[in-house]
């Protein structure tokens, strides 16, 4: 017997400036069901559940609960409808304690007016115990570890005894035992009739725990797998990638490289972010880094660049030990970085193109009196604008008026002007249109052929496959595998497998729907 739908979403579309996050998505949820929502970064999972949670309103489409149409206009409405949501990043008030956070906006009162601290503390302890955690309810949130903050978030959602519970990436910061405990809890809740939407990148646990797996790709619901079908991680990845994964045809030049180790990172560690990272860059190679959000890649790159401190490890440039404590040091040693947030970290948006391109090279371009030769600034900038095909009406055009792709080129030009030998790039084509993407790839290959060494991190595996000589897969701050171009695993499917199939094996083994083994 198929249960009637508890939650039904039909034709849901949602657009944000510049991107269509969801395209006419249908989604169904039944009582006592665990449905996992899978997809690559940007596929639309968080957007979909945010709509259910009342944080966004859909542009198009209808939602109904128990067959009745609803309009989930804000989080309070969602709560009333029995929807509890645990966000990806804990959204708590740091300067208030656990109890106050759990009971925010639904404080318990006695005599109708005064805060009933004792009851709130008691109930908080209860819920935390159910989750298997012993915490003092009067601890301030800012004094908690990330795991504990996650637990408080879950406790908050559980408090109103929701009928629909959304868990967005909650297992990410948990260790095996903690995750096991959570799965047991999920099983229990399921048996009591709660419907659970589970978002995770860890396909192994998804396979174990779900009754149904719904896959999103590029904002569309591209299919679902049922428990009866006994799906494997490979099946899921196949749907994630889709049949028509096109190949960007870029000539990557010779596979081999000079062999000269120009930049070496030894045992670089930063507590909480990455550990024991060893990377060797050779002249004339592009090395890719692949990993899930939170794997520590961005932080690792920033650490090499001097934008982030480290606890241990050394950096060698051409065999010599260097001390890099701030970006200026890195630049002196020939290292430049394009971060994943060019608007905040790579550009002065209200300044002109020429200024942005020349800002890091002013020392080279000034004369003996430390004044810069304004004419030569303009000439250099113009040269780069031409060679990188940066589309701008003038040298003085404010950078914020350029398209994303051209903005990215400006940041690249900044480093090229200084003729640096090593370039670190995090998310090279974020917010860049398709045509400019290809142009940037060609530029990077040219740089490689000119003998530069490039370290490239990207959430788009396809991108890494098309231009890298080898790819390092990173998980939880460690490099777990290196894949060389030309080897059998150098394809999108295999790399995704390495990234998603992992060591976490939940002990809650649920058999056919509803039955607990």
């Amino acid at each position: 017997m198929v249960e009637k739908a508890l939650l039904e979403m039909k034709g849901i579309s949602k657009a944000f400036p510049g991107v269509q996050a969801l395209k006419s998505v249908d989604f169904l949820l039944r009582k006592g069901e665990v449905v996992s929502l899978i997809g690559q970064n940007g596929a639309g999972k968080s957007t979909l559940v945010s709509i259910i949670g009342g944080i966004y309103l859909q542009d198009d489409g209808k939602i109904s609960i128990d067959g009745k149409p609803v309009n989930i206009s804000n989080p309070a409405v969602a709560e009333e409808l029995g929807i509890g949501m645990v966000h990806q990043e804990p959204t708590l008030v740091p300067n208030m304690n656990i109890s106050a956070n759990v009971f925010l906006n639904r404080e318990l009162l006695h005599k109708g007016m005064f805060l009933d601290f004792r009851s709130m503390n008691e109930q908080t302890i209860n819920v935390l115990n159910q989750l298997g955690f012993k915490l003092d309810p009067e601890t301030l949130i800012e004094d908690l570890r990330l795991v504990e903050k996650e637990v408080v978030e879950i406790a908050k959602a559980m408090l109103v005894k929701p009928r629909i519970l959304i868990l967005d990436e909650v297992t990410a910061p948990l260790n095996t035992d903690e995750a096991d405990h959570l799965f047991n809890l999920v099983c229990e809740l399921k048996s009591k009739g709660m419907a659970i939407i589970f978002i995770s990148h860890r396909l192994t646990e998804v396979v174990q725990i779900s009754d149904r797996i719904v896959i999103l790709r590029d904002g569309r619901n591209v299919g679902e797998l049922l428990r009866e079908q006994d799906p494997s991680e490979k099946d899921i990845i196949a749907l994630m990638l889709g049949q028509n994964a096109f190949e960007t045809h870029v000539d990557t030049g010779s596979i081999g490289f000079d062999g000269e180790k120009v930049l070496s990172v030894a045992n670089l560690s930063k507590k909480g972010f990455f550990e024991g990272m060893n990377v060797d860059l050779h002249a004339g190679e592009i090395v890719g880094m692949a990993g899930l959000k939170g794997a520590g890649i961005t932080e690792f790159m920033k650490a090499i660049y001097g934008a982030l401190g480290t606890d241990a490890g050394q950096i060698f440039v051409r065999g010599g030990l260097v001390g890099i404590k701030k970006p200026a040091d890195a630049i002196k040693h020939g290292i430049g970085m394009l971060t994943n947030d060019r608007q905040k970290e790579g550009l002065a948006l209200q300044r002109g193109v020429e200024e942005n391109i020349t800002i890091s090279s002013l020392d080279i371009l000034s004369n003996k009196l430390k004044f810069f030769r304004t004419r030569s600034l303009g000439i250099q900038a113009a040269k780069l604008i031409k060679s990188l095909s940066i589309k701008t009406p003038s040298l003085r055009q404010e950078v914020m008026n350029l398209s994303g792709g051209n903005q990215q080129k400006v940041v690249l030009a900044k480093w090229l002007l200084r003729n640096l030998d090593f370039i670190l790039i995090d998310e090279p084509t974020r917010g860049v249109d398709v045509k400019t993407k290809t142009e940037i790839y060609k530029l990077l290959i040219e740089l490689k052929k000119a003998g530069k060494a490039i370290l490239l991190a990207s959430p788009e595996i396809l991108e890494l496959i098309s231009i890298c000589d080898r790819i390092l897969v990173v998980d939880s701050g460690r490099i777990i595998k290196e894949v060389q171009r030309g080897s059998a695993s150098f394809n999108e499917g295999s790399i995704l497998e390495i990234m998603h199939v992992d060591h976490l094996s939940p002990s809650c083994r649920v058999g056919p729907i509803g039955a607990l083994i």
């Binding site: 944080i55 804000n74 989080p75 309070a76 709560e79 966000h87 959204t91 708590l92 008030v93 740091p94 300067n95 208030m96 106050a100 956070n101 009971f103 925010l104 906006n105 404080e107 009162l109 007016m113 005064f114 805060l115 800012e142 004094d143 908690l144 570890r145 908050k156």
Partner: protein, 341 residues
Amino acid sequence: MEDEQAIKQNIMMELVKKNALLLVLLSLVAIGIASSSSFFTPYNWQNILISVSTLGVLALGQTAVMLLRQVDLSVGSLMAFAPIAAISLTEATLSLTGTKVVQGGNYVTDGLFLIVVFTWVVSSLVGWLIGLVTVKARVPSLIVTLGMLYILRGTAYIFSGGHPMYLTRLKGFKWLGTAKIFGFVPMCFLLFLAIAIMAILLLKYTRIGPRMYATGNNEKAAVYSGVNAAFWKIGAFIFSGFCAGIASLIYSSRLESVEAAQATGYELASIAIVVIGGTTLEGGRGTMFGTLLAAIILGLIINIISLIGLVIWYQTIIIGLIIIAAVFLYLRKVRRRELIG
């Protein structure tokens, strides 16, 4: 034995840190007694308490605003505008019944009740207006209240015709500023204390507290939990306006006059008190009790300095140094937490 010593020392340090303001206050009292024989006289204490009242009430309103990560620069000008507007309104209202409120050019002779009520109403309405513009038009409160600072001051001049209004002939008006309970405790200080205690209790023991602190400390988290952030922000500005109205009544009652130029700079002094009391600029941190203590501390400092015979400018130098030192110490405590977490 040595371990015991170390533990005792640690506990002492903790106690000191937690009650820093109270200790500062007590030390100042000690300094005061030591520096002048006239410090511990009824007359002197009345002076202290009266000067504490006006700025103290203002600071309570400012605390509410700053806890929500906003700032209200308009309260000084509002202290001039509210009573002046109230007098004009009273004039207009009572002229309908034929009563003359203002006589002999600028002597206010009638309409006590209406003037007092209108002062509160006007100041609260202005607060509400500021709140609306800040929240709905999304203009930063720094800018809105800065603009109002000028607008209100100018309007006060226009309404009052540019000359002071004297209330010496208004029966009963000087009561608030000069009355003393038991012939000793100034009435205005009791009023300040009453508002302070209410504010402390409301924030600590009712829903108002968590919702305001949440809105100030992490608005996103508050909104995700369904808290109506806009409501609380506007409410804080209304309270700040209300306090400005009360402060203006205490002030004008003491001086028995109202003029457009009065209370200039008071908004900055109120921020100083709030900040010394432990409320930070980022919002969500600080207490009304801290503001209460800080107001008294400021009053003590001003008093001691004049008792010692130093010129008034020494006051401003010392207050400036204290503001910087206080915020530095508070932030150090907060930052140390961040490093550990």
